[in-house]
């Protein structure tokens, strides 16, 4: 099932295969340490085999086994002296290649000035001893998520690059293992420097890379002798027996489609009665990559540190935006977890998100078994989805480029437009509808749409919704802030050429559409009729009022306004924005629509537009989701198979299909 190429080495040949006595393991650990590496390997602590730094093979388990089941893990004593006589424990290598807490950057705010400094990553040289087949596959999955583009996590890449991998063939398996079903094990086949298969008195040793060969020819040479045919045969037989023992506990053919066809299955609500939404499964999982960034500041509010920590789609605030969480119910969170791991991961990364290690089963404190849920929700059939194409582009992960406020304009009581100059030149190539991650040291960086492109910068229109946006709306001329971007995709304005364009927007939602209107007005003849429908809470909340008059009088744009609550001076319409369409006489067959506002308003608008004959391929909406990285790495903004930050925020209704407006996606 993995798309990663697998080449099986000839299992029965003795050529280039070595035998290492059990006592020789210490020579291996010593050689890696002499190489200046921090050696991570298994050791027994707190009733489990955990992964930790080891200094000699004496710290590794001896004669230890394990028993695992849903929500249950116990160590056992083996009656042989094996060092690897158990399967994967609570720790995964993720801890070292993608650590739970990482300092990303620091920032300072002194008077008007702001400064940002990405924290350099200088990972120590690592060596991993005892990596299982499913865990090698997990590296493969993580490589696709964090290191294959379009954006890369440089810290992850550096750690992966530095690690020397000593893999171990599984000669035992537990009830929780299902690598056979996911196509990831139990045979170790590639992606290692050295692989060991444990035999009664020692190990069969295979070389998998030039670095491995160098070790075998050098520091380890005196501890090795060529393997005998019996040793080679026994090793192969033991691994084959492991495969047989696991069987195929999870029929995966067509799982992606099976699962995504079951978004309304009643079982989601049932499993949510048992699920505590504690998040253990996601943090124990070797491939889950979701993170959140928190700010630490000093009392003066001058110096700030941004730290990234593992987070989970089970966390309450994970999908929170203004107006609430997109996954408010536990069932939504469970569904996100399962559909992501086994379904939408394929759309995003062209691979499964699950490698069948079983950790989420053992370490779910209440023993929920993903295999049982999958079989109940999405029983077997067939089909295999196409992996998505990813185009690598260069972009920084945590570099904020400083820009300066050169003008401010109070749009409404709580909304300000900031004109920024000296922004990253990348913004001059920005597209209509893109956004920036905007940062003031000490506050969380936020996604803000670019509401205008100027000669040497951009404008942002910001509503003071909370502390961070209020701090931004309080900025004065001369103050600085940090920008990262431009990010996201854009309104497909080229598709509007020769068509009528309907722009529908509510509240602050006009901000990302403003550059579209500017672009239209500059090249008005290329478009048919252009109509803007805009709804605000009260007349005083109408954005860009003066500009709007110009759009109407000189830009050739029909402007229709409505408010929820009118004052005495208001003579225009009162009511929701879709009511503005009531009197309209136009036909939608030749029209294209751009819609931005609260999600409910967008749904209502989409229905009204469809009713007027605008096809779903030509209705575009822009989605708001919780965003932290803006480049598809932190996981927050996922909506089904999409990362809203990277694949959106602009989507056609056709793209969204029935996920649009569905609760809890």
């Amino acid at each position: 099932m993995m798309t990663i190429e697998v080449t099986r080495p000839e299992r029965t040949t003795t050529a280039g295969r070595w035998y290492l006595e059990r006592a020789g393991l210490d020579a291996l650990v010593a050689a890696l340490r002499e190489d200046g590496r921090t050696v991570i390997g298994p050791t027994v602590a707190d009733g489990a085999v955990v992964l930790a730094e080891i200094h000699s093979s004496a710290e590794m388990p001896h004669a230890v086994g394990d028993v695992q089941g849903p929500g249950r893990y116990r160590l056992t004593k083996r009656d042989d002296a094996r060092v690897f006589g158990y399967v994967v424990g609570p720790t995964s290598w993720k801890r070292w290649v993608f650590p739970p807490d990482v300092e990303l950057s620091t920032g300072r705010r002194t008077g008007h000035r702001v400064e940002f400094a990405p924290t350099a990553s200088h990972p120590t040289k690592l060596a991993f001893v005892g990596v299982r087949a499913c865990e090698l596959a997990a590296f493969g999955v993580q490589d696709r998520v964090l290191d294959a583009g379009p954006f890369r996590d440089a810290d992850y890449a550096a750690r992966r690059e530095s690690a020397f991998v000593v893999a171990v063939q599984c000669t035992t398996a537990e009830l929780t293992c299902f690598c056979t079903s996911m196509g990831t094990g139990p045979e170790v086949e590639h992606g290692f420097d050295i692989a060991l298969t444990e035999l009664d008195e020692g190990f069969l040793l295979d070389v998998g890379s030039p670095a491995g060969q160098e070790l075998v020819d050098g520091k380890l040479a005196s501890a090795l002798r060529p393997a005998t045919p019996v040793e080679v045969y026994t090793a192969a037989a033991d691994v084959a027996a492991t495969r047989a023992r696991i069987g195929d506990p999870l029929p995966t053919a067509g799982l992606h489609d099976r699962l995504l066809a079951q978004l309304d299955n009643p079982r989601w609500a049932q499993v949510a009665e048992r699920c505590i939404t504690c998040g253990n499964c996601t943090l124990a999982c070797p491939t889950c990559f979701c993170t959140s960034v928190i700010q630490k500041t000093d009392m003066e509010g001058i110096a700030a540190t941004n730290e990234r920590a593992w987070d989970s789609c089970f966390s309450p605030g994970f999908a929170r935006v203004a107006g609430g969480s997109f996954r408010s119910r536990p069932r939504d969170r469970y569904r996100q977890w399962l559909t992501h791991k086994f379904g939408t991961w394929w759309d995003q990364f062209g691979t499964t998100g699950c490698v069948g290690c079983g950790r989420c089963i053992t370490w779910c404190p209440v023993g929920i078994d993903v295999r049982e849920e999958l079989m109940a929700i999405a029983p077997p059939v067939a089909l295999s989805p196409e992996p998505i194409r990813v185009e690598p582009v260069a972009a920084s992960f945590n570099d904020f480029v400083v820009a300066q406020v050169v003008a401010t304009r109070q749009e409404t009581a709580d909304t300000v437009t900031l004109t920024l100059a000296g922004a990253d030149p990348a913004f001059s190539k920005g597209n209509l509808g893109q956004f920036a991650m905007v940062a003031i040291p000490g506050f969380p960086p936020l996604p803000i749409s670019i509401s205008r492109f100027t000669v040497d910068g951009i404008e942002l229109t910001i509503r003071g919704a909370g502390p961070a946006t209020k701090a931004m709306t309080a900025l004065k001329v001369g103050d600085q802030l940090g920008l990262r971007g431009p990010l996201g995709n854009n309104w497909p304005i080229e598709r509007a050429v020769g068509r009528d364009l309907v722009i529908v927007s509510g509240g602050i939602g006009l901000a990302p559409l403003r550059p579209v209107i500017h672009a239209l007005a500059a090249d008005r003849r290329r478009f048919g009729d252009v109509r803007l429908y805009y709804g605000a809470r009260t007349p005083a909340d109408i954005l860009y009022r003066e500009e709007m008059e110009r759009w109407a009088s000189r830009g050739g744009i029909e402007v229709h306004l409505t408010v929820d609550r009118a004052g005495p001076e208001w003579e225009g319409r009162v009511g929701v924005v879709t009511q503005l369409f009531d009197q309209a006489t136009w036909e939608g067959a030749n029209a294209i629509a751009f819609v931005c506002g609260p999600e409910r308003m967008m749904q209502a608008t989409a229905n009204t537009l469809a009713g007027r004959g605008v096809t779903p391929t030509r209705i575009f909406v822009t989605l708001e989701r919780h965003m932290e990285c803006g480049i598809g790495l932190c996981g927050h903004c996922q909506m089904g198979k999409y990362f809203v930050c990277r694949d959106g925020p602009v989507f056609s209704l056709l793209q969204l299909g029935d996920t649009f407006g569905r609760e809890g996606i």
Partner: protein, 331 residues
Amino acid sequence: MAAMAHPTEHGHGGHAHSNEHGHAARGGTPRPRVAVVKFASCDGCQLTILDLEDLLLELSEHFEIVDFPEASSARSNGPYDVLFVEGSVSTPDHLRRIGELRKQARVLVTIGACATSGGIQALRNWADHDAYRAAVYPTPEFVESLARATPIAEHVPVDFELRGCPISPDQLVELLTALVTGRRPQLRDEAVCMECKRRGVVCVMSAQGIACLGQVTQTGCGAICPRMGRGCYGCFGPREQANAAGLARYLQASGERSAEEVGQLFAGFTAYSEPFRSTITDLGGTRGARRTGGAGHVAGGAYPPPGGAATGRASYLPGRPRMEGIDDDGR
């Protein structure tokens, strides 16, 4: 001061107190006036504030501490910019004072399990109040107390909560920093489990079969108990949408624990917070309640424990002439 975060959580209007009381600190900016008051509690949370030691000096550059019973005997009156409230509402006097104090406070922060969920003293809420009092005090007629010990938020709007028994110094510093710099405090509302996993703690529930409330408990403590090899007993209180019923069902179904034993697990410092409260009630009330209430006794309070045989073990009572914090008069 101008930057001080305005509470938005509970839509409480706040009071635009001018700061004429504030002494000028650096640059002449008046420092926000901070006070700590105490209701029924053991002072442990106040001690956490005192334990900040080195930081206290820095804090006092940014805040004017006008009232702090544990630190000095100086008394001042409101208005306060930030008022920390320790302890639960346990006496008629508390009830009267909390309303007064709310009016004096621009930002009201409850600190600790007592203030945020009623504390250990709220276990009496399941019991027959008079019988309980008689069991505890030699001359119960002189003790004025309410039938229920209740969290502050049951009486007045609360802007921020610091959970725990005692509170976490890190969270305290984070809240103060956020208040003074004007940003949103970053107090995580996830499960203790998340902290276990980030710190690489082996789950005591999966690996040792120890019942652990970490899954339903709000994080903040750094998973102290699992790090020490024991189960979390929920001192930070229930987290958002805590599935206490689900956990209780699992603990019973996975064997070895009776419904009553499972109920007892939730009957700690934060017993009176929902959904722990209803879980305890569903599973047979607290042991203390049974002891004082007797077999099959139905208490007069709002949360009568269902009938059933008394266990004969009163884990919270024996040998304790006076429970910490109970019926304290507020000083």
